[in-house]
Homo-oligomer: 484 residues x 2
């Protein structure tokens, strides 16, 4: 206890010298874990901070703080800590010996592959946005009392499992960004667009159930299209890879359902409407946002999928939506969501609504100011793309996908490329497995359904990850140059 | 504005005379909608209340309050209002003309079938618990800042999509209640047990993929078993209704997967292990909690499903879990969740953890006191069951399932029945459709896969719903008696 108090007596004055906008920003920065206490507990600690600022009576405050944290929040604090992988100093002191979760967290962190240096370029987790929300701790917070939305259903729309507020917010967002037409379209909310991919495939196949539908995707395609479709198998459809292999009804194979990511994952290319190939096209617009790709027009397709993950970075909330023109398809997709998961988390819906409104508000108030999330995301990703380009520009061993500056209607200017991924080709004949070449340099990339010559590196991760990636890539390229 | 101020000048003093434990309880009671503002906004209003209490300067406070609510929260307040179908008086005044959502809510409420008198006994939404959480507004609240758990993954368990904290809390809950063995078992969290029903069926069929598995359920069974299994069809399995029709491998039809709800939905009977019928049995223990059924032993089956919905009433959170003995099955079910929805909402996970901990805390501190959720639930449901029994006891037209008092280890005493549903049989020869008979009296019940002679009435809904149900049922029984 003495050690705890001494540690805090050093740490708190140090923290108090930080520039902070307000007491709440301060409280969030120093004790992010406090957010996991109840409102009452949170207020108690904030009151403590206020008392501290007034009286500078450290000892009294520390006693209060220890009392609050250890006795009223204890294990919840540890959850917060594990959740954020944070080791704020009071936690380290307070948790040792008190909190089993904390130690689990530390141990597990060392085992965690993706977060280690090796995994710095793997997987599509959009962690770069975390810094934005941490820097703006007053944005997007929700307080959810025990009695909030306990029903399966929302009352503002009969037998519908998601809120009108969320749907309206989604429409407002598309209206502001100008990336998709929502007028006279239906919206289905899903547990991530992952659920909706299968929901739409299943529903299209069901509406064409006199035939077995072929699900196709042109390489390189998002690998989940194939894995998910094959795993969540159905007598109604099967995965048939490349649309070029099929000629529709002529083969007697039934309806063709094409999955198209635009901008494409992995290579960020805009995909246009395929020519005379597919009967049904599902446009996965996960990356069709102004920080990830120039907005050149409002997408106006029959079936469009979006996800919160790549807009605000909240992948863990599992909120996706499908914008659908046909009423029958809309009802069928909705029914899939009902029978699959009986709806979508109401907590996630509330938070998504709040987060999206925060974005809309920042732009409507500041009129395309420099503090909006899209400006932040574009700035980071343009700079990352330029870095990757400069590392690879003189390499004959590796080549990068080509992307050109384009006019973006949202930013009202020509913008440089800012893709979420680098799509790298290994050119040397002996580099038959490009992912293995990267791995030998300590970089975990991902193969993407177009042979072994290519590897996808994520540019969406935390800054620390990106720095490790560029250091290792620079070393790899330098080794190659010096050996040739 | 003048009207608003006048209304608040009357309303606030009225409210201030209420017995409240603290300012926060007060704030929550009077302005539940405030919970949807950000922390800062919430604090501002609480500060306003404090100022009011000190100075009793109503006018100044009302101006502050109007300013805060209308200008900083506006549409969010309306969401809160619609979400809870509440019409607290300041909202009515403030919203009129200001808030399109509010009017949508009011209009939609009138259209809402299930919430009207007719739907009072339909559907399994466990709304009776809402009163418990409203009466204890400081319990189970979570504050979620913008940066909380943005990743798909949790860092405390490599490549796992849900938190150790939730799993640990679930184990603690089962340990406290004594209703299921979790030691040396694996736990998979799903988007409600709805997702897990199909995840387990799919996985069992996949692990026996050399044959087409038959999914069976003995009538009367939870209707979703059939509807979901048939809709989320697969080449690996099909729904084959009654297990008695099949004799396992002898028919050459492959593995048999039996779905058993215990206590059963709809009739609340405890289901024992079937005799020499099924190869794989999935025990759906949604109702295996001390407020819904006496806990006579810790269930120790290979596959057990649970859901938050019927424990705390948070159906909208979509949190369910499977407790699984076999490691291969566990991994396969987990993989289904990954490919189906890429995990489970982190907001829901946090809230579920907090809610369950609240329950555990209330019992560990009070040692089975009278304020715990299970005591509350049992008290309400025992009384409802007694009411239904007394209405039907002299009726020859309708009979009710038989349930006996039993010793409950959790309450450490013999307890009366407290089922979630009344399972009613229409005895008159001419009443071939029991649901239609109920409907003629204004009661919407549900058929449950065992012919038309039976109807299920929910006892889990709000008190107002139950009162409408009993009034109409009493009238129906009286009509029958007088006509005979």
């Amino acid at each position: 206890m003495l050690v705890t108090m001494l540690a805090l007596e050093v740490a708190i004055p140090y923290a108090m010298r930080m520039k902070t906008n307000s007491l709440h920003v301060f409280a969030h920065r120093i004790f992010p874990l406090l957010s996991f206490c109840s409102v009452t507990e949170y207020l108690l600690v904030v009151r403590g901070l206020k008392a501290l600022r007034r009286s500078f009576s450290f000892t009294a405050f520390v006693v209060l703080l220890c009392w609050e944290i250890v006795l009223t929040c204890d294990s919840r604090l540890c959850v917060a800590c594990v959740a954020q992988q944070c080791t704020p100093w009071p936690m380290v002191v307070l948790s040792r010996g008190l909190c089993p979760y904390f130690h689990t967290g530390v141990r597990a962190r060392n085992q965690w592959k993706d977060d280690g240096p090796g995994g710095a370029a793997c997987c599509g987790d959009p962690l770069l946005f975390e810094a934005y929300w941490r820097a703006n701790p007053n944005l997007g917070t929700v307080v959810i009392p025990g009695w909030y939305r306990m029903s399966y259903l929302t009352r503002d729309n009969a037998a519908i499992l998601y809120t009108d507020a969320l749907l309206r917010t989604i429409r407002d967002l598309h209206g502001m960004v100008g990336n998709a037409v929502t007028k006279d379209r239906y919206i289905v909310v899903g547990t991530g667009s992952m659920q909706l991919i299968n929901a739409v495939v299943h529903s299209l196949a069901l509406l064409n159930s006199d035939r077995v539908s072929s699900v196709v995707a042109k390489a390189p395609y998002y690998s989940a299209y194939k894995v998910q479709t094959e795993y969540l198998d159905s007598p109604l459809f099967n995965f048939a890879r490349d649309p070029a292999r099929f000629t529709g009804n002529a083969t007697g194979r039934g309806a063709q359902i094409e999955l198209i990511a635009s901008p494409n994952n992995p290579d960020a290319q805009i995909q246009e409407v395929p020519q005379n190939i597919s009967e049904h096209v599902i446009y996965d617009h996960a990356y069709n946002w102004p920080h990830l790709s120039p907005i050149t027009k409002a997408s106006d397709h029959d079936i469009m999928l979006f996800t919160l993950s790549k807009i605000t970075g909240h992948a863990g909330s599992r909120i996706g939506w499908a914008i659908i023109k046909d009423y029958n398809l809309y009802r069928t997709v909705q029914w899939y969501v009902v029978l699959n998961t009986l709806g979508v988390s109401h907590e996630s819906q509330l938070r998504a609504t709040q987060l999206i409104r925060t974005i809309i508000k920042s732009y409507s108030e500041g009129i395309r100011n420099e503090k909006g999330l899209f400006h932040y995301g574009r700035e980071v990703l343009e700079s990352r793309w330029a870095t990757i380009q400069s590392i690879l520009k003189n390499s004959s061993r590796f080549s990068l996908q080509e992307l050109k500056p384009d006019y973006c209607f949202f930013f009202a200017q020509i913008v440089d490329p800012s893709p979420g991924h680098a799509w790298i080709r290994c050119n040397y004949e002996e580099d038959v497995d490009c992912a293995a070449v990267m791995l030998s340099a300590g970089i975990i990339g991902r193969k993407f359904g177009s042979g072994n010559r290519f590897v996808r590196l994520s540019l969406l991760k935390r800054r620390s990850h990106f720095e490790i990636l560029t250091a290792r890539l620079t070393k790899l390229v330098a080794q190659t140059s010096s050996s040739t």
